[in-house]
Amino acid sequence: MQTTVAALPPRHYLNDGFGIRSWLFTRDHKRIALLYLATITLFFFIGGAMAVLIRLELATPAGDLVTDETYNKLFTMHGVMMVFFFLIPSIPATLGNFLVPLMIGAKDLAFPKLNLLSWYIFVVGGLFTLYALISGGVDTGWTFYTPFSTISSTSKVVPTALGVFITGFSSILTGLNFIVTIHRMRAPGMTWFRMPLFLWSIYATSLIMVLGTPVIAITILLVAAERLFHFGFFDPAVGGDPVLFQHLFWFYSHPAVYIMVLPSMGVVSEVVAAFCRKPVFGYRIVAFASVAIAVLGFLVWAHHMFVAGISVYAAMIFSVLSMLVAIPSAVKVFNWTATMYRGSISWQTPMLYAMGFIGLFTIGGLTGVFLATLAVNVHVTDTYFIVAHFHYIMVGGALMGYLGGLHYWWPKISGRLYPEFLAKLSAGIIFLGFNLTFFPQFVAGYLGMPRRYHAYPPDFQVLNVLSSAGASILGVGYLIPMAYLMWSLRYGRAAGSNPFGAVGLEWMTTSPPPTENFATTPVVAWDAYDYKGEVEGRVA
């Protein structure tokens, strides 16, 4: 499949300047992607450490490992770290940053300095949150619900809120950068409907970032302001309404789920096409489905509030609207399946992750339809059913896609191959560990086990032991790729420009690419995923 001589090119973005300054002042989108990769990996392992402690505590029914207050802080910090500092930036800021210019045939993003700035903002926001963590922690849950967060909690709400507020700007700037880049910087011949579907999903994600993030930023600032100065936004005693906080919070935080999962869907489209050697079935429909998910995602938020005392009539409207999101999501799942039909499938690591995504996302999505149903929602609200559901979306979906994408483009990013056997093995371990961790939580939740308690009735112990055992397997599954990807940076075999024989501009430059990406601006005369054209020599 691979004819180029397997050696790293003499000149590429990684050896174009050395030393800490060449990284901290870089404007190269590829280096900024790696800065993000290092930062979010750190946050992932901090958030993961919290998860380990949570699962250890829940291995026995008695609340014996940590106090109830510490437990509250653990799940809060786990949520804050994973949502705001890992999942939201995960694919857009790393793979998106790396690939958007490469995939459209550009030298960089439209605003390279702004791109670097958004990383610095992200770091500052992260430092605020780490300060809150070290100086005592927060116990409000990652959702910061009022009135607890504004009146009752005695923990570090303000620094955490500021951390999330600051990080929001990094998200907005990244989204803005992608939108402008995709509009203005496409290479000649790269029309909207020739773009890889990854870019459509990144574009849709960017729309959510730009339209939604300002709302959460202001809302979280209002919480801090109300806490400090006792304004009356959310406090009924001074004319506010605590439910208003939930409206504002979920107006962003429901679409935020699509910030996490849409990019993964983009990865799956790329990977499925590359490893079935076929164009994605119904390309245009899949492209529009991304935009439809982004738009519909803004019309459903009150499904998080059905038992919060909102109007039953509003609840009915939101229930129906929530179910609509299932349509474009299902379109994607069916189209990936149709792409695989009669494809010549090769089961390499990225494809295993893509398959994992499709299955687990489907379970997560369908349980989401249960939750959109008013009566079922009342039964399972604030139980482990919810916890299981959103972990199927965020870990089974978003994280699987992230790892799949990281493996698929790792040879492009690093110029080197990872050990395929270990990679397949850890993909299997992660799939197994994930299901063992979270499937029992559906059962526990359905039987009535509430979330966010450090002790529980002994009846639930078997399910919780299963879950904790699964979590330890999952943890091992995450450490293995961490180890061999680092190893491959130095010892991996050189990958060559296109190790998977994939179609796409990013595969038509060296691995790792030169700082300016392409020696000459490419001219595109083929559609995305033109695998037939690749064979017939139409793809230059």
Binding site: H183, L244, H247, F298, W301, I310, S311, Y313
Partner: protein, 98 residues
Amino acid sequence: MSQTHVVPTRVYYTIFAILMFCTYLTVQVAFLDLGALNTVAALAIAVFKAVLVVLFFMHVKYSTRLTWVVVIGGAFWLGILLALTMTDYLSRAWGTFG
């Protein structure tokens, strides 16, 4: 980007005067008891002022169609937030007793 529109300073002074007059109006209206219309009046004046700022001070009036799409899109999304939130507040009391 290719051509910059030069706006005569006269326009800025006029808009500034209108904004100041509207501020005066807001203060005066605050002293009238319009019942439920108090909020409506204050918000209407505020929205009018915001539109003037966006159109003239932010140069949207002289910008490309794509800029218009972005501005209207942003306002529309704010509309979604307000409208769907109001479906809750306006109908919360319906069909409840006591």
